[in-house]
């Protein structure tokens, strides 16, 4: 086992391979506060990549309702159980075990789902925690809660799937950090299905090999964001790149959101894979639950999110979400606009902080009629 640096845990950890950083790392930010679980991302992904025979129950992208939902069922609870309790130190250092640190004789600690766990992709949909008391009424803050969690492969910096594959059929691309399963080399041992803590590698019972989210790499190679990002009608997602070996750049929206402001947090960082999908935590959910899910910086992130309107630099980064299919490499907070640029510095998107208001007179002089909003 090699020692690698995991910045999300603020410590070194064990990993079967030496640390080797890609030139740039594919990164996503998902704002959970804006997700309405319409599943447009799920369907966009499904029709693009997993509509074949043998892929009936495979969803590279899914949106589940927390706390009860999960695809596969109870994936997170089951993996957390295997870790046997986790603890964060006061200085933000993770003191528990990662999936790579165990005494079991296995390379990666993992939970293996059964076929039934995949059978209900949206189980727990819209279920809230607890019951409404008789006579309860809305008082500004809800007594009970739920939220939607959109999930894809995290294209981890230290992938569990890659660590577990005895054939080295799984690799992390040097050019963009996308993690792929070599479809001609895999022999279907299903070690990755067990090892991936996010359960985002899947066994195809017809081809008898495993498959996973490919980060829409054919789009990425053309400078476009993945299907699940561009199809999102709630504009909750943004995809781009980070380079965690370098100092954070203030003009990279991902460095700004994730590393400088720390408003978006990794999902279950305690697994130790250093996932690269970052979530703005839901503001209305009890802190204990969120800390278990997104680590110890949850409260700061929520405070920042609530005050984002006063932080133009940060706000500008969030204005870029869902407003261009192109990948944004840098951005600028202008007086009235957030401006996004591509890799060579050409402007690709310009978003006003405040949408312009157009007033249409009730009376249309040209057609001599009143305008109605009746559909």
């Amino acid at each position: 086992m090699a020692k690698v640096k995991n910045w999300q845990l603020n410590r070194e950890m064990e990993y079967p391979y030496e640390e080797k950083k890609p030139k740039k790392q594919i990164t996503y930010v998902f704002d959970t506060n804006k997700c309405i679980a319409c599943q447009t991302c799920t369907v966009a992904c499904k029709t693009t990549w997993t509509s074949g025979k043998g892929e009936e129950t495979i969803f590279f992208n899914n949106v589940e309702t927390k706390p009860y939902g999960g695809y596969p069922q109870k994936w997170d609870v089951n993996t957390l159980k295997e870790l046997n309790g986790q603890e964060w130190g006061k200085d933000g250092v993770y003191n528990g075990k990662t999936i790579f640190e165990n005494e079991s004789g296995e390379r990666v600690t993992g939970w293996r789902p059964s076929e039934r766990n995949y059978a209900f992709p949206n189980i727990g949909e819209d279920e809230v925690l607890g019951n409404m008391e008789k006579g309860a009424f809305f008082n500004g803050i809800h007594d009970i809660w739920m939220f939607y969690l959109a999930r894809i492969c995290n294209h981890c910096s230290y992938p569990g799937c890659l660590a577990a594959c005895p054939r080295k059929a799984i690799y992390k691309r040097e050019e963009d950090g996308i993690v792929l399963i070599d479809q001609s080399r895999c022999r279907g041992y299903k070690e990755c299905v067990k090892a991936c803590p996010y359960k985002k590698t899947f066994f195809n019972m017809v081809t008898r090999v495993s498959e996973k989210c490919i980060g829409c790499y054919p789009l990425i190679e053309q400078g476009e964001q993945p299907r699940c990002v561009t199809s999102c009608i709630g504009k909750i997602r943004l995809q781009g790149f980070m380079e965690d070996a370098k100092e954070p750049r203030r003009d990279n929206p991902f460095d700004m959101i994730v590393r400088i402001k720390k408003i978006a947090l990794p999902l279950y960082p305690q697994f130790g894979t250093q996932p690269n999908v970052y979530y703005v935590p839901p503001v209305h959910v009890p802190k204990d639950f969120l800390i278990q899910m997104f680590g110890p910086n949850v409260e700061d992130a929520i405070t920042l999110y609530r005050n984002m309107k006063d932080d133009k630099e940060l706000l500008a980064a969030f204005m870029l979400f869902g407003n261009t299919p192109r990948i944004i490499h840098s951005y600028k907070a202008e007086e009235n606009y957030a401006v996004g640029y591509n890799e060579i510095g050409d402007e690709i998107v310009r978003v006003p902080y405040v949408e312009p208001v157009l007033e249409r007179p009730h009376w249309d002089a040209q057609f001599q009629t009143f305008r109605h909003n009746t559909p």
Partner: protein
């Protein structure tokens, strides 16, 4: 100053060389039977570390206790042992039931193999070829592996613990005839199996104790009849299901005997691999989605709309994988599309021929000639495997009157897969006249 010290060292080495010479031969046998699968001497790390000059790195006392029970030393907190264990992916070295004398012989052998490597390099620099130890003249040193091999036929042959006799037969070897008369005339050899613990992922819960094997041969074919107890017949495909499997392995030739565990670099093995899911495919047809889940419903498989025929009540879930493969519409079946041998839908026999040169290197052969058939009855698998040999194909086993075979078994009911298997190291296979 350095040169003087160096010459003193050479003198000491040469002196020790003679002391150790007589034991090194015995040590070589033990090394090749016990250590070879995981350790090389000067050829790099296999599973465990390269043992070149290990005699200089550790004391004899330390080595003896580590070889006896590495985990005892690790658990005692010995920093060297703990570091070794961690550096090698925490794969425990199995305890070795060797006597002190045997271990010392092995160390003598390692020493004799280690000695030439360093001085040989130094001698070239100091231009004193005379001090090269005599052993290098007849044995290829670690440095000469790139040159044409000087090893004679069977030079590295070490007798194995078990010997299997293969008998000649005249008739065609049909694996489906599991009760052929000639099998009943042969006595079966019972071989104990061990759990694979040398490389990740390891088998933590062994469930099979032994197998029995018989062998017959014809020109260019060797057949085995294997039987083992397995209370559950595991032949289904699914994410949480694993199937029963068997594999037989040959060295590619008998000049160099590679590691019995999937071979090693420059030591390729020929493997024939049977799987119960393929047996099921061959007997009852491909285990398709609608076969496994008869109540399934699919709205549409994009791109396959032309297969649908409402008037004949052909809906999406009625489209079989076979239909898709036959019409080459495999764009949405990535494994099939990339010609992964695992994704092959039709097989004549439930078996695959492959080669390997170490862990994780298994590769399917282009020419598939092996045959097999199996039957599960009353908690027991009975399997006949017919292996093509001496065919002139460079990826298949070649030998004259003897070779070696190793076996592996997987118990699907206990989630055996890949390296999670039971194995039997090299067994000597003799071809009777």
């Amino acid at each position: 100053m350095n040169r003087i010290l160096f010459l003193v060292l050479i003198a000491v080495t040469l002196q020790l060389q003679s002391v150790y010479a007589q034991n090194a031969a015995a040590g070589e046998k033990t090394f090749k039977a016990t250590c070879n699968a995981c350790h090389s001497i000067g050829k790099g790390k296999i599973v465990g570390p390269d043992l070149l000059n290990v005699n200089k790195r550790r004391t004899e006392k330390w080595l003896i206790s580590f070889i006896r029970s590495s985990q005892t030393v690790v658990k005692s907190g010995d920093p060297v042992a703990v570091k070794l264990f961690n550096d090698h992916n925490k794969i425990p070295m199995p305890d070795q039931k060797l006597t002190d004398v045997q271990i010392k012989d092995v160390l003598a052998y390692i020493k004799s193999k280690s000695a030439p490597a360093t001085p040989a390099k130094a001698t070239a620099a100091t231009k004193k070829p005379a001090i090269t130890p005599p052993s290098t003249a007849t044995k290829p040193s670690a440095k000469t592996t790139n040159k044409p091999t000087v090893v004679k036929q069977d030079d590295e042959w070490i007798d194995a613990e078990y010997k299997l006799k293969s008998y000649p037969v005249q008739q065609e070897l049909n694996p489906k005839d599991l009760n052929a008369a000639f099998w009943s005339k042969i006595e079966a050899l019972k071989l104990p199996v061990s759990p694979q613990t040398l490389a990740y992922p390891t088998l933590q819960m062994p469930s099979i104790d032994y197998l029995t094997v018989k062998s017959v041969y014809r020109p260019m074919e060797v057949a085995f009849l294997i039987e083992w107890n397995d209370s559950s017949k595991s032949n289904e495909v699914d994410v949480v299901k694993f199937c029963d499997q068997f594999a037989v392995e040959f060295p590619l030739n008998t000049k160099v005997i590679p590691s019995y565990m999937m071979g090693n670099k420059d030591g390729m093995v020929h493997i024939v691999h049977w799987k119960a899911i393929w047996q099921e495919d061959c007997e009852k047809g491909f285990q398709d989605v609608q076969v496994k889940y008869p109540n399934m419903w699919v709205d549409v498989y994009p791109g396959l709309e032309s297969y649908l025929d409402r008037s004949k009540r052909v809906y999406a879930q009625d489209i079989t994988s076979e239909m898709i493969v036959e019409t080459h519409a495999t764009g949405n079946m990535p494994g099939t599309y990339s010609h992964n041998p695992m994704s092959q839908i039709k097989r004549k026999y439930p078996v695959e021929e492959a080669n390997a040169e170490g862990f994780g290197t298994l590769a399917t052969q282009e020419t598939q000639q092996a045959k097999a058939w199996a039957e599960w009855k009353d908690g027991k698998w009975k399997l006949c495997v017919v292996v093509p040999v001496n065919t002139g194909n460079r990826y298949k086993a070649t030998f004259t009157d003897r070779t070696k075979v190793a076996f592996a078994l997987w118990d699907g009911g206990f989630q055996n897969i890949g390296g999670r298997k039971h194995f039997i190291p090299w067994v000597d296979l003799f071809f009777q006249k």
